[in-house]
């Protein structure tokens, strides 16, 4: 009997806890990790696409290598914010949004378009113009290797080594 009274008292003391949500907004705390938003400071370097554990981010070369698209899919995102941790431009902002349900799947995707950088040797798109110029700014000027795609860089390094060899066992 005593126990039942205790429970009754506890229930009365607690009162009603249910909120009249959604008729009244129930904002998440400021520290809540909602989906990230990618700002215009993005240079399209792709660091976030490499870090993302969920595969929610991709950097793709479209329209015959004429445009580079950074795409973020909220549907795949796990809101871990590793993209913000690795971004060299601080171009990823955390939001506290949680009402993400939609009947339009396109709303779940954010796209940022960049102009690609083309390799000075083979012409293939390998990065974005903004990423190359940002890199040049950070090391104090354009370096020869920056204008070439990783493949052509490797070929150039190899041919420099080969041409500097004199004698030795292998031709």
């Amino acid at each position: 009997m005593v126990g039942r009274l205790t429970a009754l008292l506890a229930a009365l003391r607690t009162g009603r806890l249910t909120l009249p949500y959604p008729y009244q907004p129930a904002p998440a705390p400021r520290s809540y990790r909602g989906p990230p938003v990618f700002l215009d400071d993005c240079i399209g370097c792709g660091a976030c696409t490499y870090a993302c554990p969920a595969g929610a981010l991709s950097l793709r070369y479209l329209a015959g290598d004429d445009v580079v698209v950074l795409e973020h899919s909220v549907a795949r995102c796990i809101f871990c914010m590793l993209c913000a941790d690795v971004c060299p431009m601080e171009a990823v902002r955390r939001t506290s949004v949680y009402e993400l349900a939609t009947d339009n799947p396109a709303e779940l995707v954010q796209r940022l378009e960049h102009r690609p950088a083309h390799c000075a040797d083979c012409g293939a798109a390998y990065s974005t113009l903004r990423a190359v110029s940002e890199a040049a700014g950070r090391v104090g000027g354009i370096q020869r290797y920056m204008l070439r795609c990783p493949g052509c860089r490797a070929v150039e390094v190899a041919s420099v080594i080969a041409s500097s060899r004199r004698g030795g066992g292998l031709a």
């Binding site: 039942r4 429970a7 506890a10 229930a11 607690t14 705390p29 554990p53 796990i78």
Partner: protein, 531 residues
């Protein structure tokens, strides 16, 4: 549990077991290599005579490195503060079964799983059919082998099986169980006479996924999703195993923050379990009131880490959050107050005689069974087994914190209920110590080099018991092997012993009293958030 002879040392123990090729690594793990026959003999001797017991076994495919599979039997030696791993190279795809010698549940399950996933035969193993894979899975397809085809096979519809005898099905979908698992109860009138268990309905190969697709520093985010309740335990244990493998020093402040989040998680997990026990006993007032108090703990976690449950706070080398001192103090104060309030409430519910009689003397697990079959966590401690990884093998900041390990002897549902409440109070006291003594400094150490083919093993005390992660680093930043052994993996088979002899109506109460986490056991990726 027999007391070890006085003055026993690690060296004496290894000599007794006949293990010669041993080396001790960080974290108190002793790795021993042994041949097949000698290894099984040593394992049997360790389990029976030494104050150590088998906690799990695992396998890894090392054919590309040294030409053979390896089976590792992991022993917990709480008095010596060590784990002893017996690593047996399997050259001809079958070895003698240890389960046939020991006749214990945890060994039966872990060898059975290896047989399913690696195709290693265990001669004399008592299990028939499949444990993890579906019954219609092809015989020659072993998914965790390194040369397994990348696509799953087309499965035939399983043949309909008729229950043997008067079997009463409980699950796979049952209103009192919440997760997919299947118990077939053999009954005589209202009494349970025997139990057959079929689980792993949601096995999705999360370990294989990590080995194939994730880099080592991304795995914590996957590990965290193994469990819908105690995810932080898994990401912490993974990080510790990886840190030991590669040799990363974790800053002191990060250790304290890990301990803090682990204790917050233990409090909300224990409150959930007690609430669910009341629900299974038919007392929903108690369930609602406890869950209401638990909500406070969840919102503190949200304010500290940015989410109620999936904290995303761990990374190899430390943590990703750095709350300031006032936030830590306030969070600890709120959680501790909520914990004390909840414990008072939960104890008062036992004064309702219907609740008390549903728990008292029901589902008794004896001390000897609990020790031999590898019961873990609150299930073991409520049956008089004094083990706790936090004290026996200190990790995170537990070495510098003071706390009691509550132990009870009754072994029934009531003991497990009360024990968890005692632990909630201990956790609150640990949290207050952390708020007083947390050091300042960096929270993450990223200054490390990846090392290839190194082994690391870590254990932690999850709310449900000892959680073990075993990591072998691979090439190009990936893992060669990642093994997860969640505590419910050892506790669930013990339900066969606990259910026998009690009423069918007690089954949901008994099952919820071990706080089973079927998704941990099956290692699924659970996307549903709790709470």
């Amino acid at each position: 549990m027999r007391d070890p002879p006085p003055g026993e040392t690690l060296a004496a123990l290894l000599r007794l077991a006949g293990l010669r090729d041993c080396r001790e690594e960080g974290g108190g793990v002793v790795y021993c290599r042994a041949g097949a026959g000698e290894g099984i003999r040593a394992a049997a001797r360790l389990h029976e005579d030494s104050g150590c017991r088998l906690t799990t076994c695992l396998a890894y495919d090392y054919r590309l490195v040294d030409g053979s599979f390896h089976v590792v039997y992991v022993f917990d030696c709480p008095r010596l503060g060590r784990y002893i791993d017996i690593d047996i190279a399997v050259s001809d795809s079958s070895i003698d079964s240890l389960a046939a010698v020991l006749e214990t549940m945890q060994c039966k399950w872990c060898e059975w799983e290896i047989r399913d996933l690696y195709g290693i035969g265990f001669r004399g193993h008592p299990g028939r059919g499949r444990l993890v894979l579906p019954d219609s899975w092809p015989e020659d397809y072993h998914p965790l082998r390194k040369d397994a085809p990348s696509r799953p096979p087309r499965l035939e519809r399983p043949a309909r099986r008729r229950a043997r005898g008067p079997g009463l099905p409980l699950g796979p979908y049952h209103p009192a169980l919440h997760e997919p698992e299947y118990f077939e109860l053999e009954v005589e009138g209202e009494r349970v006479k025997g139990v057959r268990y079929r689980g792993f309905f949601v096995y999705r190969g999360i370990e294989k996924l990590a080995e194939d697709r994730f880099r080592a520093e991304q795995v914590p985010f996957l590990a965290e999703r193994i469990c819908g309740i105690c995810g932080f335990v898994h990401s912490t244990t993974y990080c510790m195993a990886f840190e030991r493998a590669v040799g990363i020093e974790v800053p002191e402040r990060a250790k304290y923050l890990r301990s803090m989040l682990l204790e917050i998680e233990r409090i909300h997990s224990h409150l959930l379990c007690t609430a669910v026990m009341l629900h299974a006993a038919g007392y929903d007032t108690g369930f609602m009131q406890l869950m209401a108090v638990r909500e406070e703990v969840m919102s503190v976690a949200e304010e500290l880490t940015g989410n109620r449950k999936t904290y995303s706070a761990n990374t190899p080398g430390g943590v990703r959050i750095d709350p300031d001192d006032s936030l830590v103090r306030e969070a600890v104060e709120r959680v501790s107050r909520a914990a004390e309030k909840a414990v008072k409430l939960a104890r008062s519910f036992l004064e309702v005689s219907e609740v008390y009689t549903r728990l008292e003397g029901v589902g008794v697990l004896g001390r000897r069974d609990a020790w031999r079959h590898g019961a873990l966590g609150p299930v073991a401690r409520a049956s008089g087994i004094d083990v706790d990884v936090r004290r026996d093998h200190p990790y995170a900041a537990y070495g510098s914190l003071e706390f009691e390990v509550p132990v009870r002897d009754e072994g029934d549902c009531l003991a497990r209920y009360l024990l968890r409440l005692d632990e909630v109070l201990e956790s609150a006291s640990i949290l207050r110590q952390i708020a007083r003594s947390i050091p300042r400094g960096p929270v993450v150490n990223r200054d490390y080099d990846y090392a290839e083919l190194r082994v690391g093993q870590a254990a932690s005390e999850a709310p449900r018991g000892e959680c073990i992660h075993y990591v072998i680093t691979g090439v190009s930043g990936r893992l060669w092997r990642w093994k997860v052994r969640a505590p419910s993996y050892n506790n669930i088979p013990l339900l066969e012993l606990m259910l026998k002899g009690y009423l069918v109506a007690d089954a949901p109460v008994i099952i919820s009293s071990i706080d089973p986490c079927f998704s941990c056991t099956d290692r699924l990726i659970r996307v549903k958030r709790v709470g």
